[in-house]
């Protein structure tokens, strides 16, 4: 920042030739000289400018130099301006000037000695420059201090956010590993049991009629673990806005039939059955893998929380929109929880009791539906099951996760 060190000098004298002579003596680079031919004129200039020094002729018609000086001392704005009185030696010394304590005062005697004039003026101008520079530095320091303070505040805020993010990540890791350990436990116990059976020659445990159930049990645990890991990765992608869809022509009806078929054993294990009502085909442009994930998530939830009662999935098309509903007859969802269940890591107390999980399935489902330009809604009452309703435009407009961020 450049420092404005121009010094303004005020000279007041009723005689124009004196003003000219004085100006010639004191002007110089970095100085601006203002001339006033009366005290009144001087007062007007004092209102508009900040002067480094005022040189006042004492002998003036009307208001004299001392009276002008006293007026200057009486006003805060001009109180501290150094004053040099120009006076005829010995003539005005009996005037008691009342204002020495407020600011510097000096005298020049007529006839003016050019060396004395320039010498005194230089002292005051230098003083003014130094003071101005000092004030400038102090202002700069204050600004710097304030900036630093703001920076510290910002850093504190960022630190808080980082600490929170690290804590969330730790909690997430802890939760993921806890959830993975449940299916892993079943699988590990199963292998330990087989190890004992083999070592004891109890091969009847591996009889042909017992194998399918054994395989299904293992596969269920493995599917659980794969799903947990997939969900975890999807959520990480969503955080980076890196979850995208690749829409291609798909037959939703065929996809739904395949998903239902794939979940047949899981449904049996839950003591339930999935009924699918769908047209022969329902063609649209969607990301097949992601829509399969949506169907699987909704059906898996319906099996988990459906209390072993039948689950019903319906598909239809109307006005360029595909509709999917999944209905169960299980524990249902309280009204106050119906929005929350779509948020990440949110699980209702009821759902926690019924099945393990990270609370990511519906969060991911809604995100995928959103990426397809569609929407998902839930209708439910506690104890009366739940109906999830998905609407998908037949032509998915490819969007990035950022655009559908709620």
């Amino acid at each position: 920042m450049p420092i404005d060190v121009e010094s303004k000098l005020l000279i007041v004298d009723d005689l124009p030739e004196n003003l000219l002579a004085l100006e010639a003596l004191i002007r110089g680079p970095g100085r601006a000289v203002y001339r006033a031919s009366s005290a009144e004129e001087a007062l007007a200039l004092l209102l508009d400018h900040e002067f480094a020094l005022a040189i006042l002729d004492v002998q003036m018609p009307g208001m004299n130099g001392f009276e002008l000086a006293e007026l200057m001392r009486g006003t805060e704005r001009t109180r501290h301006i150094p004053i040099i009185f120009v006076t005829a030696a010995g003539r005005d010394s009996n005037y008691a000037f009342q204002g020495y304590e407020s600011g510097a005062v000096d005298f020049l005697y007529k006839p003016l000695d050019p060396h004395a004039v320039t010498g005194k003026v230089n002292v005051f101008v230098d003083l003014h420059c130094h003071r101005k520079a000092l004030r400038h530095e102090m202002n700069a320091l204050a600004v710097a201090n304030q900036k630093q303070e703001e920076l510290v505040q910002q850093l504190r805020h960022t630190q808080g956010e980082l600490e929170r993010a690290v804590r969330m990540r730790d909690d997430f890791m802890s939760m993921v590993s806890h959830e993975l350990r449940t299916p892993l436990n079943t699988l590990y116990l199963e292998t330990q049991l087989r190890q004992v059976q083999v070592s004891r020659g109890k091969l009847e445990s591996f009889a042909a009629d017992r194998l399918p159930a054994m395989i299904e049990r293992d596969q269920r645990q493995i599917r659980n673990m794969v799903r947990l890991i997939d969900d975890m990765l999807d959520v990480t992608r969503m955080r980076r806005d890196a979850l995208s869809i690749q829409p291609k022509p798909v037959d939703l009806a065929a996809l739904a039939r395949a998903v239902v078929e794939g979940l047949k054993q899981q449904a049996e294990a839950a003591g339930s059955v999935i009924a699918l009502e769908a047209p022969g085909e329902l063609r649209g442009v969607w990301d097949e893998f992601r829509i399969e994930q949506v169907l699987t998530n909704l059906l898996t939830n319906a099996l988990r929380y459906g209390g072993g009662k039948p689950v019903e999935m319906m598909l239809w098309e109307r006005d360029g929109t595909a509709h999917i509903t999944v209905r169960d007859q299980g524990i249902g969802i309280a009204p106050e929880d119906q929005e929350r269940i779509f948020e990440q890591f949110e699980r209702t107390d009821d759902s926690r009791k019924h099945a393990p999980g990270l609370g990511l399935g519906l969060f991911i489902t809604r995100k995928i539906v959103g990426l397809h330009g569609g929407r998902i809604e839930v209708e439910s009452r506690p104890g009366e099951g739940a109906l999830f309703h998905v609407e998908l435009p037949l032509q998915a407009a490819a969007k990035t996760a950022t655009q559908v961020r709620a």
Partner: protein
Amino acid sequence: MLESLLPVNVLIVDDNEAAADLLQELLTLQDHTARCTYTAQQAMDAAAEERFDAALIDLTLPDFPGTEVARRLRSAAAGRGPRLLVAISGFSEEEAAGGAAAQNLFDHHLQKPIDMGELTAILSGPR
């Protein structure tokens, strides 16, 4: 893990039914006896009917926490309860809910997946 020492009667509480059943089968193969329960209430009922030497208690149960099961087994039975209380959890002992309270209630903490060698060592530990 095959050596079964003195047979013990074990109460298992885990809402993961497959895991509970497998534990029962494994313990039976080691000549222990075991009874499976899947909720805290079932466990309390079983403890009222039968005397157990040890209880394996999952900390996350659908009706109330495993720590509560342990507390009731410790206090109500006045010497008639299981000698050995073992917590089972997906969390480590430090992370598990209940923290210090759980540490005082249980004799051991087993983190899933459960290693039968470890469990056998606990069950055959000093009486």
